[in-house]
């Protein structure tokens, strides 16, 4: 039973982590909490569903297609909603992300309808049995793909020219700009990548969750909490926060009661904000005057 709970917790944690990385990436690059992140996650699942179940493309192509569309959607979001407000107060930007979330939910309702849509499991084999313990293959897929995606991102972020420019932007926009980095392009890129992470998570969880227009609401909230737990100012804090939250939720519902599952996240959030306001990995924020 412990092993099964562990794997289920890691899988859920990976999903939180992917969505939460979107939060931290955007927060790092423009000090903005993007409340449309959960709905970008939902849109990714919808794109994947369209390619896979309606168009009938092979699975891998559908997922790549879904990620490309998520990337473009993120870029569009930056161009149409955030860029025009680049000189507006932070509150306006925050509200625009909330509005975009609502817009996306209703758009999805119009395009795909309000119903819950089925999404086939990635593998015909639904469970593998290891030493008498049966494990869902989808859980394994989720964990492996997450590791892969984060590794690719890490390589890109640390070792490529673009990645370095992105890091510079996230450290200090003004200095980066003075060094000849096109900051707006970097921000566009950060948001598009965030959206891609969200979309990928949406497609990974779709066979377990099914697909519906409001599927991103709770996930968005939980992932936001995960990113705060890990430290909003630290990109990989989201990973730690996400995995921690996923495991805690599963263990609490397994060993205490499933009725408390949703409370876990909020209790942890309160504890973290009280004792580690900058998150597990976060350093104390210094407000420069």
């Amino acid at each position: 039973m412990f092993i099964q709970q562990l794997i289920a917790g890691l899988a859920m944690g990976s999903i939180y982590a992917l969505v939460a990385m979107g939060f931290t990436l955007i927060f790092k690059s423009m000090k903005l909490v993007n409340f449309a992140q959960g709905d970008l996650f939902m849109m990714g699942a919808m794109f994947g569903y369209t390619f896979y179940s309606i168009v009938g493309l092979p699975l891998v192509l559908s997922i790549i297609g879904g990620m490309v569309l998520s990337f473009l959607l993120g870029a569009l979001f930056e161009r149409l909603a955030l860029n025009p407000l680049k000189n507006a107060p932070e509150m306006s930007l925050l509200l625009v992300t909330v509005a975009t979330g609502i817009l996306l939910q209703n758009l999805a309702k119009l395009i795909w309808g309000p119903d819950t849509l089925p999404f086939d499991t990635f593998s015909e084999v639904q469970t593998v049995t290891l030493g008498g313990v049966s494990i869902r293959t989808q859980d394994i897929v989720i964990v492996v793909v997450t590791i892969l995606a984060v590794s690719i991102f890490h390589y890109f972020f640390q070792y490529t020219q673009f990645g370095k420019a992105l890091r510079a932007t996230s450290m200090d926009r003004q200095t980066a700009s003075a060094m000849g980095i096109n900051v707006r392009v970097m921000i566009l890129l950060a948001i598009a990548i965030s959206s891609t992470f969200g979309g990928l998570a949406g497609m990974l969880i779709a066979p377990v969750y099914f697909v519906y227009p409001t599927m991103g609401v709770m996930i968005g909230l939980k992932a936001f909490i995960a990113s705060v737990i890990g430290g909003l100012n630290h990109i990989y804090g989201a990973l730690i926060g996400g995995l921690f939250l996923g495991l805690m939720e599963t263990f609490v519902s397994g060993y205490i009661s499933s009725a408390y599952k949703d409370i876990v996240a909020f209790v942890i959030l309160i504890v973290v904000l009280r004792f580690l306001p900058s998150g597990i990995l976060g350093k104390k924020a210094i407000n420069k005057v």
Binding site: D115, T116, D120, R136
Partner: protein
């Protein structure tokens, strides 16, 4: 300062717009004896349970269109206004208030969910408006003593008792676990099933709860597995049920799933896929009943799918209100009185006779889902 003013202006403009739109749509007064007769209905048209509201709406629209094309009621057309309750009690109250106060509906039909009905029926009682609940099965709806409520679907505790009786006696399972959603619908059914099992001398091997919308049932299922359960009685909605039945198969648990009316929806089979084969559920309605084939055919021709229980109870609610309007006209008190005295009314969900409390139906069948998605009656306690 300037931006503050702008903000205030914006709010003013917005509220003005809201008022204007509110005024422009509130036309027509059902209390008058001319113009269309306005009926209000509500149900979830979005969210996890949207399918229930959609099929209720489709059924009602189909029936009222037919009535209107046959000349309406004494020359007056019926106008149905359907509001979305999103499956939430607070939204349901707003929807019903809007239907009563703004649209001046003379009767309220729906909705499909118990938790919403329990909230909305207080509003209809306050306004003294006849209210025909469709598929909300919680016993409290009619047992609360509200004189304006009626209900088409068989009470959940009656269905749950039949399900428990079938599981323990007819199908002869001995180690039965019960899993129910932590809301009014789930609790009503889960507890009634438990009571019936105890009455039959069987102690359930586990009573487990889940939150509607939960996606992972590993913890609960592992407890059933450790208790060696051979059957699981499930009281919850179709999306949750579909995820559950898939996970039962995935975790290699060899137990029969037996559910309630919540699983009586074609969407359940679609979402669960192969895993739905062999699943049983208790419900008053099955589309293959020989006496309702006219209705089934009409529905299939119009919408290209078979009607389900939630929709069929909506169809019966529509039939009842039209019969009442034809008999006693548009007086709300008279309609309510007529509805509470209905006897042997031929509905598509059974022969309807009103009890003092307002329950109209008492039929139950245990229905089995086959590999191709078709359904047959596995057990009918009345035969």
């Amino acid at each position: 300062m300037k931006s503050k003013l702008k903000f205030l202006n914006g709010i003013l403009l917005l509220s003005l717009l809201l008022i204007l739109t509110a005024c422009s749509t509130s036309e027509g007064d059902a209390a008058s004896s001319e113009g269309p007769i306005i009926l209000g209905a509500y149900g979830p048209l979005s969210g996890d349970t949207a399918q229930y509201g959609e099929s209720m709406k489709k059924n009602m629209e189909m029936y009222f269109e037919e009535v209107n094309s046959n000349g309406g009621i004494d020359g007056r057309k019926i106008q149905l206004i359907v509001e979305d309750d999103e499956g939430k009690p607070d939204k349901g109250i707003n929807a019903v208030k809007k239907l009563i106060e703004k649209d001046k509906a003379i009767a309220i039909l729906g909705g499909p969910l118990s938790n919403v009905n329990l909230a909305t029926m207080i509003e209809t009682q306050k306004s003294k408006i006849p209210h025909i609940s469709t598929s909300g099965g919680n016993a409290k709806i009619t047992e609360s003593g509200n004189p304006y409520i009626l209900r088409v679907v068989t009470k959940d505790n009656a269905i749950a008792s039949a399900v428990a009786e079938y599981t323990a006696n007819e199908a002869d399972y001995k180690k039965i676990g019960i899993l129910y959603s932590a809301d009014e619908y789930g609790k009503g059914g889960g507890e009634a099933a438990e009571a019936k099992l105890k009455e039959l001398g069987i102690e359930p091997v586990g009573m487990e709860v889940f939150n509607p919308g939960d996606k992972d049932y590993t913890p609960q299922l592992m407890k059933f597995k450790e208790a060696d359960a051979d059957a699981i009685i499930f009281w919850g909605f179709y999306v949750d049920g579909a995820i559950l039945v898939k996970q039962i198969k995935e975790l290699g648990i060899d137990a029969q799933l037996i559910g309630g009316t919540g699983l009586n929806n074609p969407k359940f089979t679609e979402l669960a896929g192969e895993a739905s084969e062999g699943v049983l559920f208790g419900s008053p309605f099955i589309a293959t009943s020989p006496d309702i084939q006219d209705y089934v055919k009409k529905y299939e021709d119009k919408y290209g799918q078979l009607p389900d229980m939630t929709g069929a109870t909506g169809y019966d609610a529509a039939q009842l209100i039209v019969a009442a309007l034809k008999e006693v006209g548009t007086d709300k008190e008279k309609i309510n009185e007529w509805l509470h005295n209905v006897k042997d009314f031929n509905g598509v969900t059974g022969v309807l006779t009103a009890t003092e409390q307002g329950d109209l139906n008492d039929s139950v069948k245990i229905i089995e889902i086959h590999q191709d998605g078709s359904q047959t009656i596995a057990w009918d306690p009345n035969n």
